[in-house]
Symmetry: none
Subunit: 210 residues, 4 copies
């Protein structure tokens, strides 16, 4: 029997890594990072404890890998590195995309919420990400904003322009604040319940803020 080629090894590795990350994410999200043991993950991924360490050098490294991967997927999906300008149609489209994201990556969002709720982790997280090249869009220039800030700005700008459309009586600060509050509430609900009325809610949100 001829031995495996390096290519085959690489594929095996990547498959296993994905498997481990998927299983780990599910458990981290549902039981929490600290309650989830490496043993538990290994068993559920159908392998021995030891093998896990062939792929991830520590529990924390596994966590970080999951976060990086997921954050990258999210960024890629949102595909924001365009003109930084949201038209009304793009605004609607953007919100619908967020809804799809929340539905599809529920475990990741659960995990992220848990993590961000711990003071020190939150600080770590905010510090860690701007340093990571992989999270910066391709055309990124030193001095450019990173995605989260970029997103905030795009939306803020949208509401400021809306004031011009609507007139004096419109208070953009208040509206921006309400928008983020509503989106946060929607996210939490979406992540933790399987309600089928989320699409309806998204439409209402678009109606209210577009």
């Amino acid at each position: 029997m001829s031995p495996r080629t390096p290519q085959q090894f690489k594929e095996m590795r990547e498959e296993k890594m994905t498997l481990i990350m998927d299983v780990a994410l599910e458990h981290f999200a549902n039981e929490g990072y600290y309650r989830t043991t490496i043993n538990h993950i290994a068993r559920h991924a159908g392998m021995s404890k030891g093998l896990m360490y062939n792929y991830f050098e520590s529990k924390e490294a596994l966590l970080k890998a999951i976060i990086h991967k997921s954050v990258n997927e999210v960024y890629k999906y949102l595909d924001i590195d365009r003109d930084g300008y949201l038209s009304e149609d793009e605004f609607e489209f953007f919100i619908k995309k967020i809804n799809v994201l929340l539905k599809g990556k529920r475990y990741f969002w659960r995990l992220l919420m848990q993590l961000l709720m711990q003071n020190d982790v939150r600080e770590q997280f905010l510090k860690a990400f701007p340093e990571s090249d992989s999270l910066i869009h391709p055309g990124h220039e030193p001095g450019d904003n990173y995605y989260p800030l970029q997103m905030m700005k795009m939306i803020t700008d949208y509401f400021l322009r809306k004031k011009e459309r609507i007139g004096k009586q419109y208070d953009p600060d208040s509206e921006i604040n309400m928008f983020f509050i509503t989106m946060m509430g929607f996210a939490v609900k979406s992540i933790y319940s399987d309600a089928d009325d989320n699409d309806k809610a998204i439409n209402r949100i678009i109606e209210l803020f577009k």
Copy 2:
């Protein structure tokens, strides 16, 4: 020195318990339940590990005691066990009360959010409370609703009555959903940031949903 009366002993005991619970809540909320050690709590409360077990028979018992106490305070503060009917003024008043609660008991809400994000804890929590007498209002009869459900119903009823006020084009289900979403978002924001524009947001919420 005159010997202490039983009454004095009881008061000292309760003071200590309160102290422990306060310290524990703060750490549970900020570092998480699992990352917080009994030793740490004891040191911060200025006593020894051993003594803590004089007051709470386990770490979990301490957690439960904190939750019970806080939930009771919340219920007492909201004071809902009246006619189960919300007038428009009462609705406004109710929301403002919630804002005050969120501001004042931030650590408790942080802890609660963390706990409710774990699947099994969430289930435990929902199951556990009906068993607890102290959480059931005085006039409670078997078969009555418990507070959380009662609250939900009160608010739901409010919106259903609003439909009568406003007419056909009003969709109460959608509005109820949006209301809970908004309140959830507001809660998260209030709990995790020190923004001073929360009162403004509350007024806007009242304006939108009253």
Copy 3:
């Protein structure tokens, strides 16, 4: 029963720490640091694994504590912080002291030899000790030499003065080198064998080098 006083606790602690260090030193010296498990030490010291960590925060910390303690005892015993000048009688006395030290602290020297034979440990060790205040003699001034160097210098000076006594044909560099070689050989023999002719050898060494 009245509770233990802080003083009693302190004494208990110190007793246990000494016990642990003694047992650990014996095993480190005979089986080597890596072959000796914490479990093993704990069992031989008649306590649980966990308790060891009440006294030493890691296996490495235990090792370092042992080294520090022993090095300090050695320095204290050698009591070199005098005039830095060795007369002929003092030279003889000094060598005899070293013999006593080697006999009495055999385990420590075994451990030290093992450690110093590992490249990285050796470097660590040499770097670590000059930083430690506790290893510097009481009258130490910034700029003073530390003990090992001080010892070397004292001895070197002794041989240089000896040249003056004896005359041209005496090669002090060669003699210093031979002296250190002989002392090293004596140390190794003394540490690893129980021979009773060590005292005789010491007298011969004095005869040869005084």
Copy 4:
């Protein structure tokens, strides 16, 4: 390509084994046996873990092979299996040979020192070697002495004869002891430092003990 002959296979095999043993010896000597992993050795020898087990059935077997090989080389180099008699010139020659050995096989001596410092290994070692045919000289008869003892005897005899040369005032026991002490000290120094004055020291040793 013509297929390889069995002879070629054997040579390739031996080359690989030598490579592995060289790399392993270097790491065992410098980092210690326990700190050196099989993986590490394999990587540094440019092969996979698995392949190593094709050549050596265990880490311990590798260690033993290294020791056997080196000890044999040493014995072969010292070439003692002659008449067991050391003339004055042979004595000088013998010591010079030892100096060359120490210079050239420094890693082996480092390893050996580390091993011999562990009580049980030392015992193992002393027991193990008589069992090994390869370490017994060709003309070996059951009951003959093994090399280390033979060497000791040769040297001891040399000093006993020296007494006859010199006379009463010469104490051969003391001198033998001092000689071994000095040689041990010289060995340690030679193994662990790169000093260039070792040759000078050897000449002084010859001068002192010849």
